[in-house]
Symmetry: D2
Subunit: 430 residues, 4 copies
């Protein structure tokens, strides 16, 4: 960690101004929590052990099919993206891992890349394959699908790409492969639902066969987009049946924006855990579809309820509990570093609030059919302003009290705008 982009002095200087107020707030909250039998330091310790990965591609400004509006100083390669991710982790102290995406993050020497990340205080999370776009010079098009394509060549190419991703991941130190495919249809009749799934399962089995013994394969479902009539792994039902078919270490990954309107996502989390297939999360938020908005910006209560299920599952693991957490957002209108700082805080806050739930009171009320008190057990925890706990944990780990203010004070982006080449106009996430 010799190459950290933000100087420790700057952080210390920033913190100095807020430390007294932080201690006052932390102590006041500590007294309040103590009245209900909660030790604030124990919660702080739990928070200090929490982390969430950031996606390499999230460091760049995102876009829609209509347009992308780049900002000065955006990263354009994995090296610059790692540097930005390091800033996020330095200030927030909860994002020590980066999730790479191939072929976007391809380099010649992965050993060197691993080293480079390590110097920036970063490790590696799940590897993401990409079979939803054609790359220049690619032998077979994914225009008609990838793992489920009618075209055996396209399927084989997609399988091989995933196996290559595993190989790269081994070099980087990852242990999860996340598989999301854009496969699906825009017209009734375009593909046969059952035969498409047969092909998907067959291809997925080939990838699974190449999975190292300590790896997991995470299936990510999505209701729609880029396909608009059907998708091959459209919902958690399809995902879990596929994971059951593929194998023991094949699990399901929940992206908060990939569901039908109104769906109870926290119940899906509980169902996946109940049947031993909860593998991980892509955190973001949405109002209409897969909006990829900042985590907790639209419905923070839903995020809390998800973490409440995770806390429940952790306490009652049944067949194990080891979900992988990642932010997966498209930062179309903000500085991506700021959005990930803000999102990491929102996610950690929900983790902390879920830790405050009095589970004995909750279970007691549930068993007594005391609906109001069961609800209040959650609501009491949700209402707590946990900011002092998070800030104190950050300070103790070398991070910033106010992550956004410290980032702005650093002048990091303006510096990068001088150093980095400009990004062109365009659309989408390419």
């Amino acid at each position: 960690m010799s190459n950290l982009p933000i100087s420790a002095d700057l952080i210390a200087e920033h913190n100095a101004k807020g430390l007294e107020a932080l201690h006052e707030d932390y102590e006041a909250l500590g007294r309040k929590l103590a009245r209900t039998g909660i030790d604030i330091d124990a919660i702080k310790k739990r928070v200090a052990g929490f982390s969430v990965a950031v996606p390499s591609w999230g460091a760049g400004r995102g876009g829609t099919r209509f347009a992308k509006f780049p900002i000065p100083g955006e990263p354009t390669n994995i090296h610059e993206k790692l540097e930005d991710c390091s800033v996020i982790n330095q200030l927030s102290t909860v994002t020590p891992r980066v999730s790479p995406h191939f072929p976007w993050d391809k380099v010649a020497d992965y050993k060197a890349l691993r080293e480079e990340a390590s110097e920036l205080g970063l490790g590696w999370d799940a590897v993401n394959s990409n079979t939803f776009q054609d790359q220049v010079g690619q032998a077979h098009t994914y225009a008609n699908g990838s793992l489920s394509s009618q075209d055996a060549g396209a399927r084989q190419q997609a399988v091989e790409h995933n196996i290559e991703c595993i190989e790269i991941g081994r070099q980087l130190g990852s242990t999860d492969l996340t598989v999301w495919v854009g496969d699906g249809t825009n017209f009734p009749g375009q593909q046969d639902f059952a035969r498409s799934l047969d092909r998907y399962l067959d291809s997925a089995a080939q990838i699974y066969a190449a999975l190292p013994g300590d790896w997991r394969m995470l299936l990510e479902h999505k209701m729609f987009e880029p396909a608009f009539y059907s998708t091959v792994i459209s919902d958690w039902g399809s995902s879990i049946l596929a994971a059951q078919t593929i194998g023991e270490r094949c699990k399901c990954l929940v992206d908060l924006g990939h569901h039908a309107p109104n769906v109870n996502i926290e119940q899906i989390v509980a169902r996946l855990h109940r049947f031993g297939k909860l593998g991980g999360f892509h955190f973001n938020d949405s109002k209409y579809g897969d909006d990829d908005l900042d985590s907790g910006s639209i419905n923070p209560h839903q995020l809390f309820l998800v973490f409440n299920e995770l806390a429940e599952a952790e306490a009652n693991p049944r067949d194990g509990f080891n979900p992988s957490y990642m932010i997966d957002q498209s930062h179309n209108v903000t500085d991506p570093i700021e959005s990930m700082l803000s999102s990491a805080e929102a996610i950690t806050a929900c983790f902390a609030k879920a830790s405050l739930v009095d589970r004995a009171a909750l279970h007691g009320a549930q068993e007594a059919n005391d609906t109001m008190m069961a609800f209040q057990a959650l609501r009491r925890a949700y209402n707590v302003d946990v900011a002092p706990i998070l800030a104190m944990a950050r300070v103790e780990a070398g991070g910033a009290i106010d992550v956004l203010a410290a980032y702005r004070a650093s002048g990091y982006r303006a510096r990068k705008a001088q150093e980095r080449k400009a990004v062109g106009l365009g659309a989408g996430i390419v």
Copy 2:
């Protein structure tokens, strides 16, 4: 069948007026279909073999939580309901079975009831249990759930009620038990998602253990209502995992109105078939939620796409194909007999159209990634006006060419308005 409510003479007289036109239309359509290699008589024969059950409760006017507006001549007991169902079957010839609901249809002598139905030309379909309402004098309330209740007494009572339904069904000649529960929550935290499901599965296993060897148990999922935050069997994912857990002869039943907005129901049908768990349907239509509108009245194309999957499944049965079909609608603003006549025709029309799909052309286009021609293979079949085929099949089976006109000509409802006692005001489906 000595007690049919509509005289054969009336039907014959009605048909006489339209027979010439029917023959002309049938022949013209026959020539048109012949050009694409389809034998209209073969389709007519397939249609003649099709049937769908009607629910006993559907014969009464339905309502909402706000109000019910009864009509003169409504049936108020199972005997009157059977008579009305007999009218529907006489005219439509495609609804020869009634699906009873207990305790609503309880009588002292089920052997006599079976005989009574038989005299009306009717058999019996799946038996429906009711654990979503309390009955006067009931020992344990379902206010906090039934099969999944925290209260062991309520669970036991619900299990026993289902076993009693099986026993009644055996006497009537049914071979399916349909289980829908209203169990769920209105508040986050009200119940533990996993423990609720544990209890549901335990209770369901007890019912399944009492199932005769030639019976099936059909699980019906529903996203919401009467519970508005979560339901224990909320979607097809929960339903199929439950069915897998419960046993081989436990299958999933799809009600077209029980899904999240925008969900691709035809794909769910294909998924359930693909994994050997497609048990049956409750046909209706909806625009907003579980609206229980007349089948095909809002989205007839979706109904066709569902039948297209059924035709595909029938042709490629994998582990078998034997879905049970039932209408399940709430007739709030029409004469229920008219709505079921119209709905039975809409359902049969979609069955007929799905039979017209050129599957070789469809599969060929799918395999060639010829999206437009795959879509057109479905669209060509959907666009055919199959009314002459249906009418001809009805005439040959003793039914009416124009079911609604024949019904109106019969004066049946006005007669019943004289004979039957009036129904009071109120709300809901009680």
Copy 3:
């Protein structure tokens, strides 16, 4: 106020136990807010001036079309309902008005009823008419609509009923008439969209003509239910066009559960205010449709965003700002008094949080296109735990620190279960 149902001693005794902790929390929060320039006492004073009406019918246990599960001690007439509403107001101190519903709350002597309420510390809010259900002995049915019915007799009857509601309201001291109709259709073609609206507007104009000069007429739109294909006033667009047509003092009322999925309700609030037609609210919460769940129980952030728009409108009133606030919930699984206590607190909390928003900072960030800081201006206020402010305001007004605990300690419901007659089974809200 000589007849208050809860003794002041009980409340004082309850408060005594929590007062020290409350002062500690209030002071800690005060110091924290002071750091950002906010005077906690000023906020407390604002909160002390806030109130929201409760609906008379909300005091009874609600139900769905499937069932109602009554509880012992439920009120069955307006006198018992007033007593329950008085309990809510005594403990919460923010619900000093009751919104009556006719014919449900009809009595012989409204002067006496007004007096009775006054003795209980209660005044009267908007009067609600009911033309969505038939009453026994009614001359014209509303089966085919009321204000928009094809039947001139039904329309006239509905107009006269609304005018009678105004007359009753004058005697009670109300100044608003809320008009919600169930008019709509279940089938395409059932009614002509334009002619139905013509009739609605004509009927509404007759009601408006009878409105006293200091009254307002509030139109409440609803997307669906009891009609499931279309409703005559389905959305805010129809509502505001109708209000514009009807007259100056005709305004729009927003019920949080009456919208299409995903709709941005806070923007609708801003739009109605922008065009001078924001009349009032029916507060509740929902996950799927018009679920009528407890306010803030599902999406408290949305409730905050609504209040943020209200705070913005109050600060920038354009053509005036005078919305009427009412709780409108169906308490199907809780004690209605507890739900309204909890809901009143959730609503008041959002009002308080919206009062904490630094509007200068918000506007500055908006004008600078500093998206992140504009968002953080709202988020900072949302994250504050305002419970001490609310509790202190209550204590100073004679209410309870912990409204639910005080209510449970009072034994009120158990007492009423001894005194009041039992409610029968049934469905719906009749």
Copy 4:
């Protein structure tokens, strides 16, 4: 029309094979319709008078934010796009106008472009402005909005661009300007809802002031995308209030994919007409959001119900009836020419079916509250297979009996794949 891309001989040759069958089907349908008093030739004449514009950009393969998959022979400039549009019109005979989009379709000489189109048998429909993307070298960014931007320079630039579009449109012979903006927000608080609308209305008024006296300005609303928390003109309510504010010749345009889930679009059409603001349509279809799928491919019944309202409005014009019709689709997985041929047929079929509705029977049933017969009046028309009417109208106008088969027989695309330069990979619609 000296430059038509498909030879008349090819069309004639293609038609020769199907003419006998067409006559047989047309006559059979004619006899059937005659029985209900409908003259098939009158309907054919009405169909012959129907037309719908195609968008220039629709001739290219569309994409999503994830990817675009180009096909050989795609057009890359307005000249090639016009040629493709000419093919569509030649074969379908119902798409004689092209809707241009600027700056995408900019050329040096619009007089020449108009001439060029004329030679291809094409005229010009509504002009579309583009202020949702930045163009290289643009002075002010639209990253923070255009007509509603905080930045006066961006607003002015957007206003001037729209006025330039009007000027180009005058040269081409257009008389409508369609204004859709991507303006909106991704975060609560990002912009003030009321002030954003104020700015939008102010900018729009400047454009309106530049509108020639015989032109209309069409406002297109959209619920979400590219903005995912709010959009400035999000629904028909915002649209009609804006149109009322802007002026008499400002109308609302309905895109079928721009609504919240479940919304009753045909009722919105009726409402806009009822209040004198129905300006036009962008036809497409969708299952989840703004999917831009082929018209009628997902929900053909909804398309029919929309046309039923248009037929009703035409018969009862109140303050006039003159909607502008355009296809607006994204052809991501098909040959765009084939999709537009298929879509034009689907749209025309719904127009024809709506013309078959027996309005006297419909109105009679509506007035008698005969819900079932009112519904059946629509359903009878919907069920008619109108293909022979459309084909006969096409043949008589020089088009093809089977538009897709004729197109494929022409070898047009393969020829263009030889002539035209290849399109690169990328995402979105840029």
